[in-house]
C-alpha cells in the first residue's frame, strides 16, 4: 500500500512537472508576444492589423481568398508610404473560424499594443465570440465579411463595411422582378442565408412576385434534387438561389444537367470558383453584385489590375472585401493617427473612404448601425465565363 503510494506520488510529480513545463513554455510564448508588444508601442516604426481567419479546416478556401486580398492591400499601403510614415504589418491568426479558438486568441491580440485594429473572421459565430474582448480593449473589430444584421450589436468598437442585406436584397428583388413574376427560391441554412432570404422575400412580395416554392438547404448537402424537383415542377419563371459559390453551382448544375430545367437562374456568387464549377450551365446566371472584375468603378478597376498582376487570375468578391478592409483602415489612419484611437476616430469622422463596391467612389459609415451607408449595386450576368454588367 505504502509502496504503491510512493509510486503514485513519484509519477504524479512527473506528471505535474510535465504539465508545469508545458505551462511554462506557453507562458514564455505569451510573454514574448506581450513583451514585444508593449515595448514596441510608440517608438516602433510599424503598426499592425491582426487578422483572424480560417487558414485550415472546412473554410480554408475562404481563408486563402482573404489572404490574397489582405496581402495585396498591405503591399499597396506600404508602397504608398505606409500609415503616418509607419510600415503596416499583418499579424495572421488561424482560427479555423471556430469560436472556441477566436475567443481564446482575442485577449492575446488585444494585449498586443502594436495592433491597432482587428479584421475577420469568416463566420459571424467565430467573429462575435471575439468581439466582446475587443470592445473592452477599445480596439476596433472590423468584421469585413460579417454581414449578419446583428453583427455590430456587441458595442461601439465593432464595425463592418458590409452593406445591410435590407438594401442589397431590395435591389436583388427588383432585378428578379424585371423578368420573372413567378419564382422558386432556395437559400442556404445559416445566419446569413436566413436573414438575406427574409429580406428578399419581403421585397419580392412588395413587387408582386409570387413565390411558388421555397426551401433552405444545409451547407454540406451533396444532393439537392429532392428540393429542386418540386422547385422545377412548380413551373416558375425563374429559380432564385441565395447562398455561396459551391452550393450555387450545385443548384444550377442539378437543375440543368439532372432535371432538364431551362428557365432563368438568379444567384451563384461572384467568384472564379462559381464560374468554373457551373461551367456552361452557369451561363446566363443573373445577380446583383457589389463587385465584378469588369466593374466600371475606377477604384475597383485599379484593384483588379493590381490583383491580376500579383496572382495571374481574376479577383472575386472575397478578395475584394478583404483587400478593401486594409485600404479603408489605412486611409482612415492617415487622416487621423496610426493608433487604436485613430482607427476609431477615423470610422466616426472620415466621410470619403474609397469605395470599391457598386458605382460610388467614396463611402462613409452610418454611425448608428456602424455599417457602410447605403450604396448602389451592379446588375450582372454571367456571359462567356465572366460576370458582365447588364441592364
Amino acid at each position: 500500500m505504502t509502496r504503491n503510494n510512493h509510486i503514485s506520488i513519484r509519477q504524479l510529480l512527473l506528471g505535474v512537472c510535465t504539465a508545469g513545463a508545458l505551462l511554462f513554455t506557453s507562458a514564455c510564448a505569451q510573454n514574448s508576444t506581450f513583451g514585444s508588444g508593449t515595448s514596441g508601442e510608440s517608438s516602433s516604426s510599424s503598426v499592425a492589423i491582426a487578422v483572424m481567419y480560417p487558414e485550415t479546416g472546412q473554410y480554408a478556401e475562404y481563408g486563402k481568398m482573404f489572404k490574397q486580398g489582405l496581402d495585396l492591400g498591405v503591399k499597396q499601403v506600404n508602397a504608398d508610404g505606409g500609415v503616418q510614415g509607419k510600415k503596416l504589418e499583418l499579424k495572421y491568426f488561424d482560427t479555423q473560424s471556430d469560436p472556441k479558438q477566436t475567443a481564446a486568441i482575442a485577449p492575446k491580440i488585444a494585449a498586443d499594443k502594436s495592433v491597432v485594429a482587428v479584421v475577420g473572421d469568416y463566420s459571424s459565430g467565430a467573429s462575435m465570440a471575439a468581439s466582446p474582448t475587443f470592445q473592452q480593449a477599445k480596439l476596433v473589430h472590423y468584421g469585413f465579411n460579417n454581414s449578419v444584421s446583428d453583427f455590430t450589436s456587441t458595442g461601439d468598437y465593432v464595425w463592418t463595411p458590409q452593406f445591410s442585406q435590407a438594401v442589397f436584397q431590395k435591389q436583388n428583388a427588383e432585378l428578379v422582378a424585371q423578368k420573372a413574376k413567378k419564382i422558386a427560391a432556395v437559400y442556404i441554412e445559416n445566419d446569413w442565408g436566413k436573414s438575406a432570404y427574409a429580406e428578399f422575400k419581403k421585397e419580392a412580395k412588395k413587387l408582386g412576385i409570387s413565390i411558388v416554392y421555397e426551401s433552405s438547404y444545409l451547407a454540406d448537402s451533396t444532393d439537392l434534387s429532392p428540393i429542386l424537383i418540386p422547385a422545377r415542377d412548380a413551373k416558375p419563371d425563374a429559380v432564385v438561389h441565395i447562398g455561396y459559390g459551391p452550393d450555387g453551382a450545385l443548384v444550377v448544375n442539378t437543375l440543368r444537367d439532372k432535371l432538364g430545367y431551362t428557365g432563368l437562374f438568379y444567384g451563384g456568387q461572384i467568384t472564379q470558383e462559381y464560374i468554373k464549377l457551373s461551367g456552361s450551365n452557369g451561363e446566363g446566371t443573373r445577380l446583383i453584385g457589389p463587385f465584378t472584375p469588369d466593374s466600371t468603378n475606377p477604384n475597383a478597376a485599379k484593384f483588379v489590375k493590381a490583383f491580376r498582376a500579383a496572382y495571374k487570375t481574376d479577383p472575386g468578391e472575397f478578395n475584394q472585401t478583404s483587400y478593401a478592409s486594409i485600404i479603408d483602415l489605412a486611409y482612415g489612419m492617415n487622416k487621423t493617427s496610426a493608433t487604436r484611437e485613430g482607427v476609431e476616430k477615423a470610422l466616426k469622422t472620415v466621410d470619403d473612404f474609397p469605395c470599391y463596391v457598386g458605382t460610388k467612389t467614396t463611402f462613409k459609415f452610418n454611425q448608428s448601425t456602424r455599417r457602410m451607408d447605403s450604396t448602389s449595386f451592379l446588375k450582372l450576368e454571367l456571359t462567356d465565363g465572366k460576370f458582365q454588367i447588364t441592364d
Binding site: P99, M128, D191, S216, D223, P226, I229, G245, A249
Partner: protein
C-alpha cells in the same frame, strides 16, 4: 414523385458503396472506422487529380486509386489499428477520428482547398428517365455496388481466405490457435476495404460533380449511418441500409425541405435502431465487453496527496492574475471543455457506455441560459442552473431508448441523439431563432456585478469546475457510484442481482448531461453569441476524447485531458498550416502509448 424516388435511390447507392467498406472492416476487426470517410475523400481527390490534371481515363484511374488507397489502408492497419488490437474498441474508434483529421488536412495541403468539378470519366447525364437524367456512371456505380456486395458475401462465405476472415472476426484467439495468420488477414481486409473506398470516391465524385478535400467527411458520416442501419458487418445490410437511407432522405426532404435534413437522417437512424437494435440485417451481437473496456478496468487513477490539492487549487486561482489575459481566455476554454467531459467518467468510465453526442446537452444548456438571462432577464445563476437541468432532463428523455442497444450501436445512436438535439434547436425558430443565432447574451453577472474581465470569468468557471469535481468524486465513491461501476464491469452479473442497468445508465448520463449543460451555459455567456453551427459532431468527439485521454476512471484526469486537447492547438500555433496534422498525430500517439489515460497508471 417517381423522379424523387429515382434520385433518392441513386444517392442511396452512393452511400451504399461507401458503407460496404465500413461494414467489411467492422465485420473483420470490430473497429468502427471513422477514417474510412477520409480514405474515401482522399480517393476522390486523387481521382480528380488523375482524371483532370493528368487526363487519364476511367480504367487507369480506378487501378491507380485502388492501389494508393489500398496502401493507405495497409498503413492505417499496421501503424494505428494493429497496435490497438487488444484494447477496448473506443481506443480504435478515437484513433480513427484522429487519422481522419490527418488525412483530410493532408489532402487539403496537397490538392488545395477549393471546390472543383470532377472530371466526367463516364457520361453522367446521358439517359433521360422518368423526369430525371441519370448517367452511364450511375448505372456502372449501381452494378459495381451489387458486384462488390455479392462477391464479398460469397467470398466470405465460401472462399478459404474469406472463411479465415470470418473466423478471425468471430474469435481472434481461436483463429490464431488453428493456424490462421490473423495479422495478414486483417491487413488484407483493410487493403480491400480501403481500395473499395477509393473506387467509391471515383463514382461518388462523378455523382456529386463538385468535390473538395472536405466532401469525404460529410458523405462519410451519412454512409456510416447507412452501414449502421443495415447492420454493422453485413454486406447486404450495407447496401440495403444505403438505399433505404437515400430514399428516406429524398422523400423527407421533398416533403419538409432540406432544412430538416439532419432531423430526417438521424431520426431514421434512431427509429430503425429502436425497432431493430442490431440494424436491418445485423445478427444479434454477442455480449462484448463494454466498448470502454479496460480503459477503466485495468487502470487506477493517480491520487493527489492531501497536501498537494490545496496548493494546486491556489496556484490555479492565482495564475490568471500573474499571467496575461491570453492565459485566462485559454484557461476558460480548457475548463469549460473539462466540465463538459468530466461527467463522462460516470457514463463512459463507470457504466462503460460510449457517448458521442455531448454537443447536444452542451447546446441545450447554452440555449436555455441564453434565452432565460438574455431575453427573460432571469439572473445569471438561475440561467446556468436551469441550463444544466434542461440539458439533463431533455437529453435523458431522448437518449433513454438508446440504452437498450449494445456496443457500437450505442455510440452511433448517441451521435444521432446529439445531432437531433441541435437539429431541433435549428427548427424551433420562434424560441431559438434557428440558424440566425442569439446575439447579445450578457456577460456573467453575480449580485449585480458584471464579470467583464477574463480573470474574473476564469475564477468563476474554475469555481464551477471545482464544484463539479467535488460532486462527481463524491458520487463515484458513493453506493450509487459503485452500482453504476458494477454495470460497466459486468452487466450480466449486475442484472442478475437485480440492478436495472438501463435506468442506472440513464441516471449516469443525466448527471453528465447536467454538467455538460452548465458548461454550455458558461460558454454562451462567454461568447455572448451562439448559433446551431457552433455545436457540431466535432464538439462531441472532442469531449469524449478529452475524457478518454485524461483517464476514464479519473475526474481529475479530464482536466489534464482538456489541457492537452484544447490547449495543444494554441501551443502549436507557431506551426501554422501543419498544426492540425501534428495535433492528430499527438492524439494517436497518446492513445497508443497511454492506453489507461494520462492521469492513471496501469494495474
Amino acid at each position: 414523385m417517381v423522379d424523387t424516388l429515382i434520385t433518392g435511390f441513386m444517392h442511396g447507392n452512393a452511400y451504399a458503396i461507401v458503407a460496404l467498406g465500413m461494414s467489411l472492416i467492422f465485420g473483420v476487426s470490430n473497429v468502427a472506422n471513422f477514417a474510412h470517410a477520409a480514405v474515401f475523400g482522399m480517393g476522390m481527390m486523387i481521382a480528380w487529380w488523375l482524371g483532370s490534371v493528368l487526363g487519364l481515363g476511367i480504367v487507369p484511374t480506378i487501378i491507380l486509386v485502388a492501389l494508393i488507397t489500398g496502401l493507405i489502408g495497409l498503413l492505417l492497419n499496421t501503424l494505428v489499428i494493429s497496435p490497438l488490437q487488444n484494447r477496448p474498441s473506443v481506443a480504435a474508434l478515437l484513433a480513427t477520428i484522429g487519422v481522419g483529421m490527418i488525412l483530410d488536412n493532408t489532402s487539403q495541403m496537397i490538392f488545395g482547398t477549393e471546390t472543383r468539378s470532377f472530371p466526367e470519366l463516364l457520361p453522367s447525364h446521358n439517359i433521360e428517365f422518368l423526369g430525371v437524367r441519370i448517367g452511364t456512371s450511375d448505372i456502372v456505380m449501381l452494378l459495381l455496388t451489387v458486384a462488390i456486395m455479392a462477391s464479398m458475401a460469397a467470398f466470405l462465405k465460401y472462399g478459404k481466405m474469406g472463411q479465415a476472415i470470418r473466423a478471425t472476426a468471430q474469435d481472434t484467439q481461436a483463429a490464431k490457435q488453428v493456424g490462421i495468420p490473423v495479422k495478414r488477414i486483417q491487413n488484407i481486409s483493410f487493403v480491400i476495404a480501403s481500395a473499395f473506398a477509393g473506387v467509391a470516391g471515383i463514382f461518388v465524385g462523378m455523382f456529386n460533380s463538385n468535390v473538395s478535400p472536405t466532401s469525404g467527411s460529410s458523405v462519410g458520416m451519412t454512409a456510416f449511418i447507412a452501414a449502421t442501419i443495415g447492420g454493422l458487418g453485413s454486406m447486404p445490410g450495407a447496401v440495403v441500409g444505403g438505399l433505404t437511407l437515400g430514399i428516406v432522405e429524398a422523400l423527407g426532404v421533398y416533403a419538409f425541405g432540406d432544412g430538416a435534413h439532419d432531423l430526417i437522417t438521424f431520426g431514421a437512424l434512431i427509429i430503425i435502431l429502436l425497432v431493430r437494435p442490431n440494424g436491418l440485417f445485423g445478427k444479434k451481437q454477442v455480449l462484448h465487453e463494454p466498448m470502454t473496456g479496460s480503459f477503466s478496468g485495468g487502470a487506477k487513477p493517480y491520487r493527489i496527496p492531501r497536501w498537494l490539492g490545496p496548493i494546486l487549487i491556489v496556484a490555479a486561482l492565482v495564475a490568471p492574475f500573474l499571467a496575461t489575459d491570453y492565459f485566462s481566455s485559454v484557461g476558460i476554454q480548457i475548463m469549460i471543455y473539462a466540465m463538459a467531459a468530466m461527467g463522462l467518467t460516470m457514463v463512459s468510465g463507470s457504466a462503460g457506455q460510449v457517448a458521442l453526442g455531448q454537443a447536444g446537452p452542451i447546446a441545450l444548456g447554452a440555449y436555455t441560459s441564453a434565452i432565460l438571462v438574455g431575453q427573460l432577464h432571469a439572473s445569471f445563476l438561475v440561467g446556468v442552473l436551469c441550463g444544466g437541468l434542461v440539458a439533463a432532463i431533455f437529453s435523458s428523455i431522448i437518449t433513454f431508448p438508446v440504452w437498450k442497444l449494445s456496443g457500437h450501436y450505442i455510440a452511433i445512436a448517441t451521435i444521432g441523439v446529439g445531432s437531433i438535439t441541435v437539429a431541433l434547436i435549428r427548427v424551433f425558430e420562434p424560441i431559438t431563432k434557428g440558424s440566425l443565432g442569439i446575439t447579445g447574451i450578457p456577460f456573467p453577472q453575480l449580485f449585480g456585478f458584471t464579470l467583464f474581465t477574463p480573470q474574473l470569468q476564469y475564477v468563476l468557471v474554475l469555481t464551477f469546475l471545482l464544484i463539479e469535481l467535488l460532486v462527481i468524486t463524491k458520487i463515484r465513491k458513493s453506493h450509487l457510484g459503485k452500482t453504476i461501476e458494477s454495470i460497466g464491469n459486468d452487466p450480466v452479473a449486475s442484472e442478475s442481482i437485480g440492478i436495472r442497468t438501463s435506468a442506472y445508465k440513464a441516471l449516469a448520463f443525466a448527471i453528465a448531461a447536467f454538467f455538460a449543460g452548465i458548461a454550455g451555459a458558461l460558454m454562451a455567456h462567454q461568447y455572448t453569441y451562439i448559433d446551431p453551427s457552433m455545436f457540431p459532431f466535432a464538439t462531441s468527439s472532442l469531449v469524449l476524447t478529452i475524457a478518454v485521454l485524461g483517464g476514464l476512471s479519473s475526474p481529475v484526469g479530464t482536466i489534464l485531458g482538456a489541457i492537452v486537447l484544447v490547449g495543444a492547438p494554441e501551443l502549436l500555433r507557431f506551426m501554422s498550416g501543419g498544426r492540425i496534422i501534428v495535433y492528430g498525430v499527438l492524439l494517436i500517439l497518446i492513445i497508443i502509448f497511454r492506453p489507461q489515460g494520462l492521469f492513471a497508471k496501469k494495474e
